[in-house]
């Protein structure tokens, strides 16, 4: 009976509104393009699409999918075999499907190309040292190997690769988007790449032959929740066998070197394949409204976190002033929170709150606590003891002393703590884009993934301006609120 009711309600709600599907993306070039192809294809077929891009690496995307934060994102069979199912070997599409079914997840049939991992170096150096396959690297222990963080940690990544080939080098980690410029500037000599990377041709790089067949196949396909329904599944299947390796390389290069937006590239692809009617592509969103929109989200995250931090830290500071014994320990603890790297703090909450704005606000809130708490506490402590003595002597109780004397005198200190917290918050909020919270950081994260410095600056400059504006706003606020006796 209960089941019937649920089915009835589900059917009813499907009929009533256009079904909404949330599309996620791994934050690198190809991830964005494939996600956008899926998104536009769904939109063409009357679905409402919510885009949650910039989800970081595999595990963030997978957790988001598992928890229903997103409904679909493009993934690779090798990654699913090794990282998600931890099977230790490459599984076939059928094997993967069978294992995913138990989790309530599914994959569509592969798009057609394999984007396997590869090690690359510049053509010039390859010729000079005559390094042609991965085994040759063992003869050159002094080469610097800079790898993406994900590749460093993957089962089919550096650890097992270097064991399989008995490579002596120690690899360093760096952001994948920066690896190619590091290569051409000879800061590093070897990096990991994807076989479909547009950079390989552009930067005249050589792919080292995987002569021991270490790397598994990485067939790209749609990784989704069957709960999206049959109609949506059918649409995802349309992409089966439609994208070749060279087509993918060309699309990647179009974004990276022709500076087309990935929306544009996705739309061009869908029209070429006849999935979308009409000759003209959708006009890309213009910069200014998008910038304002992202600034709005950025400010919302910042101020929500700031308000929460004020609401928590100021009363806590008062309580600590009244009960100073635990104050040292509480301040130590809150100070400790401050030392957790922002990205780690942001990631810690994903299992509890999912992705998006809640973990971001929570993390920013924790960062804002220390300056406000410390300034509230020390501001109250620093009040002239003569004033406190006379207040007690004239018969004020504890609450009256706080309300009439101590709190008003501590306000300038508390305000400057809030100001510090606000500036920290505005800066750290750019990192919130890594967990899908949006804001100006989205430009920065996307720019890093695409190695597009103008996109990075489009996020970084407004974020810096916001920080300065907040400083100025607080200076004015402090001047207005500054008690008359201090003017």
């Amino acid at each position: 009976m209960k089941k019937l009711l649920i089915i009835f309600l589900a059917t009813f709600s499907l009929a009533a509104t256009a079904q909404k599907i949330t599309v996620g993306a791994k934050h690198f070039n190809e991830g964005y393009i494939l996600s956008e192809i899926i998104a536009q294809l769904l939109e063409e077929n009357d679905f409402t699409v919510d885009r949650k891009y910039n989800l970081g690496g595999t595990m963030v995307c997978f957790k988001a999918l598992k928890q229903g934060e997103i409904d679909v994102y493009p993934e690779y069979t090798g990654t699913i075999s090794f990282e998600i199912l931890s099977s230790g070997k490459n599984l076939s599409v059928e094997q993967i499907r069978a294992q995913l079914q138990a989790m309530g997840l599914a994959i569509a049939s592969p798009y057609g190309f394999s984007n396997t991992y590869a090690l690359v170096m510049t053509e010039a150096l390859s010729k000079e040292k005559s390094i042609h396959n991965i085994s040759d690297l063992a003869q050159h222990p002094n080469l610097t190997i800079g790898l993406s963080y994900e590749f460093l940690k993957r089962q089919d990544g550096w650890d097992n690769l270097s064991k399989a080939y008995a490579l002596p080098q120690v690899a360093v980690g760096l952001e994948h988007g920066l690896a190619y410029s590091a290569l051409t500037e000879n800061k590093i000599q070897i990096t990991d790449a994807y076989a479909t990377d547009g950079e390989i041709i552009q930067n005249q790089l050589t792919v080292l032959e995987d002569n021991q067949n270490f790397f598994p196949d990485y067939l790209a396909t749609s990784f989704y929740r069957p709960a999206i329904g049959e109609k949506a599944e059918t649409i995802l299947k349309k992409l089966t066998g439609q994208i070749t390796e060279s087509e993918m390389q060309a699309m990647n290069a179009a974004v990276l070197y022709e500076k087309k937006s990935f929306q544009q590239v996705a739309s061009d692809f869908l029209r070429k394949k006849g999935f979308v009617a009409g000759a003209t592509s959708k006009t890309p969103t213009s910069i200014i409204p998008d910038l304002l929109n992202k600034t709005g989200v950025h400010l919302k995250l910042t101020f929500l976190a700031l308000l929460l931090a004020i609401g928590f830290a100021v009363p806590l500071g008062i309580v600590l002033y009244w009960h100073p014994k635990p104050a040292r320990y509480v301040l130590y603890f809150v100070g400790l929170l401050q030392t957790i790297p922002s990205i780690a703090l942001l990631a810690i909450f994903i299992p509890f709150t999912g992705i998006g704005q809640s973990p971001a606000v929570l993390a920013l809130f924790l960062y804002g606590l220390l300056p406000i708490l410390r300034n509230t506490y020390t501001g109250l402590q620093g009040i002239d003891p003569v004033l406190k003595k006379v207040a007690i002597g004239m018969g004020m109780n504890r609450a009256q002393r706080m309300q009439l004397l101590e709190f008003p005198l501590a306000i300038p200190f508390i305000l400057s703590g809030i100001r510090t917290a606000a500036v920290i918050s505005v800066g750290t909020a750019t990192l919130a884009a890594f967990i899908g919270a949006g804001g100006l950081g989205e430009y920065i994260v996307t720019g890093l993934a695409l190695n597009n410095s103008s996109l990075i600056l489009r996020g970084a400059i407004p974020a810096a301006i916001l920080a300065i504006l907040i400083e100025i706003a607080f200076e004015i606020l402090e001047r207005i609120l500054r008690p008359k006796y201090l003017r």
């Binding site: 004033l387 006379v390 002597g393 004239m394 018969g395 009256q400 004397l405 005198l409 006796y485």
Partner: protein, 243 residues
């Protein structure tokens, strides 16, 4: 009934005995000046009187009742309190400072706090225009006059003063002494004033307590103390009058 009584009070301060067996019955509606050197226990005595310090031994009576430390704040509302540091609240105007008591308790029936403030300011020679000023705009003497007005606003039965004029120049000090005496004539009140200055004790006190090393050396009317000093120490302490 004597509003303030100490019975065999002992107290140590930083490990040093500050009061050793002090018994005092302060006379109602009179000014008692407690005089003694630094470290004689004067300040401890005053803080014991208003319950800020709880004696290690002995008892304090306020208006005939043993001091109830659970209600200390409420009891202090009935005692005016003036200290050397003055302690005007810097974020409040002179008027707000003087009227602070009205924010701590409801003014007694039939009283008009604002009218009382103006009357007190007038009697302490504070022009009405000072009301809108902030404490830092006032001289030290003016600040202490405000401090006294603030303490007297609710017309307390008891006024406790701890070296109120200690930091002022001698001319200002004498002016304020005169104003205190005039106020005492119009509103008789039990006043305890702590001072290290024998001249001030003799100028203000109807009664004199001579405190030395936490013990009462002599407690008598001003006249008797002058006529019959209990010993040479009291004589020395009070002899400055002729200087």
């Amino acid at each position: 009934m004597d509003p303030l009584v100490l019975e065999n009070v002992y107290h140590t301060y930083n490990g040093q005995p500050a009061l050793s067996g002090v018994s005092l019955r302060f006379h109602a509606k009179k000014i008692t000046a407690v005089v003694g050197r630094s470290g004689s226990g004067k300040s401890t005595l005053l803080q014991v009187l208003n319950g800020m310090l709880r004696p290690a031994q002995g008892q304090v009576f306020f208006q005939g009742q043993p001091f109830d430390y659970a209600r200390a704040a409420a009891l202090r509302l009935q005692m005016g309190y003036v200290i050397q540091g003055i302690g005007l609240f810097p974020h409040m105007t002179v008027e707000q400072n003087i009227l602070i008591n009205t924010r701590l308790q409801r003014p007694a029936n039939g009283t008009d706090p604002v009218a009382r403030m103006h009357s007190l300011m007038q009697r302490m020679n504070l022009a009405e225009a000072y009301g809108k000023k902030y404490p830092h705009e006032l001289s030290g003497g003016e600040q202490q006059r405000v401090g006294i007005c603030r303490a007297l606003l609710p017309n307390p039965t008891v006024l406790l003063m701890d070296e109120p004029l200690g930091a002022l120049d001698s001319i200002t000090r004498e002016d304020i002494q005169r104003e205190i005496l005039q106020l005492q004539q119009s509103e008789e009140r039990t006043v305890v004033i702590i001072t290290h200055n024998p001249q001030e004790a003799l100028a203000l006190g109807d009664y004199i307590v001579v405190l030395e090393a936490g013990k009462v050396l002599q407690y008598d009317t001003k006249e008797n103390v002058l006529k019959n000093p209990a010993n040479t120490l009291v004589e020395r302490l009070t002899s400055t009058r002729t200087v």
